[in-house]
């Protein structure tokens, strides 16, 4: 390792593992010695056993994970498509935007989790109500980033396009859309995380399946290890999603 250079390679990973090991070791010990009641903090060994059983032995967690992911995916895809479409309409037609934007802003100001009970009445206990919560979050995030991206077109490009005699469609396809993509991508990344948040939130309130519902059940019966296990699973899933989005972005936006 050189002085001044960022440490690389296995050393940094060993360092990270040591920190995690110390943290979980201390946690285990505190729980074992009952310095803090294990009902409150569980124990890493118990959490690991719960994850192992839920994933590899009885598969219950996998089933719930599947439902949550399906809901997240549906909410994200539908919300993003709708957000991009409406955003593009806003960018191309300022009249429509000035007509609808205040209404949309008011809708977006509603705390979405408070709408979840309403969605439960409308769409039932199943997947539909969870997708609705996730959709209502993702849609507005992707919408505003699409509008911001569409606005960010370089005025020089418009001048150039005009001197070339470009049609409205050509200006849109060759300048407005490609210059909006990086900003839209930021919205998509956030929209995906919020889709997951909406779906899990909806499941916690009332559901037949899903990690949120499992979490709620476990917490209600003070199975703290299970609660931690699901929280860890959810953050792992979130991180995988973010990494996948970053990889996709680096591939699609090589030019940046």
């Amino acid at each position: 390792m050189n002085d001044g250079a960022l440490p690389r390679g296995p050393a940094i990973w060993i360092g990270r593992l040591v920190i995690l090991g110390l943290f979980f070791g201390a946690w285990e010990k505190v729980s074992d010695l009952r310095l803090i009641d294990p009902i409150l903090i569980g124990a890493p060994s118990g959490i690991a056993r719960f994850l192992w059983d839920g994933i590899f032995v009885n598969g219950e967690l996998l089933g719930d994970l599947g439902w949550t992911m399906l809901g997240t995916l549906l909410a994200f895809v539908l919300g993003s498509l709708a957000g991009i479409l409406v955003g593009m309409v806003f960018v191309t037609s300022p009249t429509v935007e000035s007509l609808l934007n205040p209404i949309f802003m008011a809708l977006n100001a509603m705390p979405r989790i408070a709408l979840a009970p309403l969605f439960l009445i409308w769409f039932g206990l199943g997947l539909g109500s969870k997708v609705a919560v996730g959709f209502s979050l993702a849609f507005f995030i992707v919408l505003s980033s699409t509008v911001a991206g569409g606005r960010g077109v370089n005025p020089d490009h418009i001048t150039l396009a005009r001197t070339l005699g470009a049609s409205g469609r050509q200006i849109f396809a060759k300048f407005v859309l490609p210059s909006a993509v990086p900003v839209i991508f930021n919205g998509l990344r956030l929209g995906l995380v919020y889709s997951l948040l909406g779906v899990v939130g909806g499941e916690i309130i009332a559901a037949e399946h899903g990690l949120g519902q499992a979490l709620q059940l476990l917490a209600a019966s003070f199975k703290t290890n299970g609660v931690f296990a699901i929280i860890i699973l959810l953050s792992l899933v979130s991180m995988c999603i973010m990494t996948a989005m970053n990889l996709l972005e680096n591939r699609l936006l090589r030019w940046r």
Binding site: N154, D156, H157, T159, L160, A161, R162, T163, L164, G165, A166, Q170, K174, F175, P178, S179, V181, L253, R254, W255, R256
Partner: protein, 256 residues
Amino acid sequence: MADGAIVLDRVSVKFSPEVVAVSEVSLQVGSGEFVSIVGPSGCGKTTLLNFAAGLLPPGVGSGGFTVGGKPPVEGNRDIAYMLARDALAPWRTALENAELGAEIRGVAAAERRTRALDLLDKVGLKGFEKAYPKQLSQGMRQRVALARTFALQTPILLMDEPFGALDAQTKLQLEDVLLSLWQRDGRTVLFITHDLSEAVTMSDRVIVMSARPGRIVADVAIDLPRPRSVRALQKDPAFHKLYAHVWSKLEEGLSS
């Protein structure tokens, strides 16, 4: 090649009753001529160019103005317009950028590829076809913009301080590139600059304009032999005599 003449007959541009950008300008630019317009900033040089390209809002310009035998119209296919900033699309490679203008004007794919490759070679960017603009220096980016402009193969080129943002060395190099491209197929060039040395180096004639409202105060023929070498001219007494002459005319325009 189509008629490349530009004729202005008592052309005025009034943005409002108080703001007169250009007043009663008459000028004839022959087919294949390289004419520069110099003058203090705000003298309406760029306004004249925008008028020729059909970029002015309707009603502000008056007088007789024909470009290639036609009144000024946006998207005139006889015109290629080059801006001070390169206006490259960052999501396109150098080659794709060089093709962009011809692409918008509907030139067949194979044909525009051939033109773009040939011109990238001519402007000294062979081997950089696949580079994205962020990987290129400012001078290289403006070379791509030159290639994009010439790939349109129009009889008329309108250039608005195309090298204004470059450092002195790069500027001299690009002036040479432009002269050699122009020498090759003799198009009409109307060239806006505030750099007298650049105007004298490149042009057949230098038009000197006064401060706002812009009028023509001198029309100086530059009878230096062609082909010219930009570097050799910098040491040529005839060049310096013409430069001094244009400079005195510019000062007259400022004081009047």
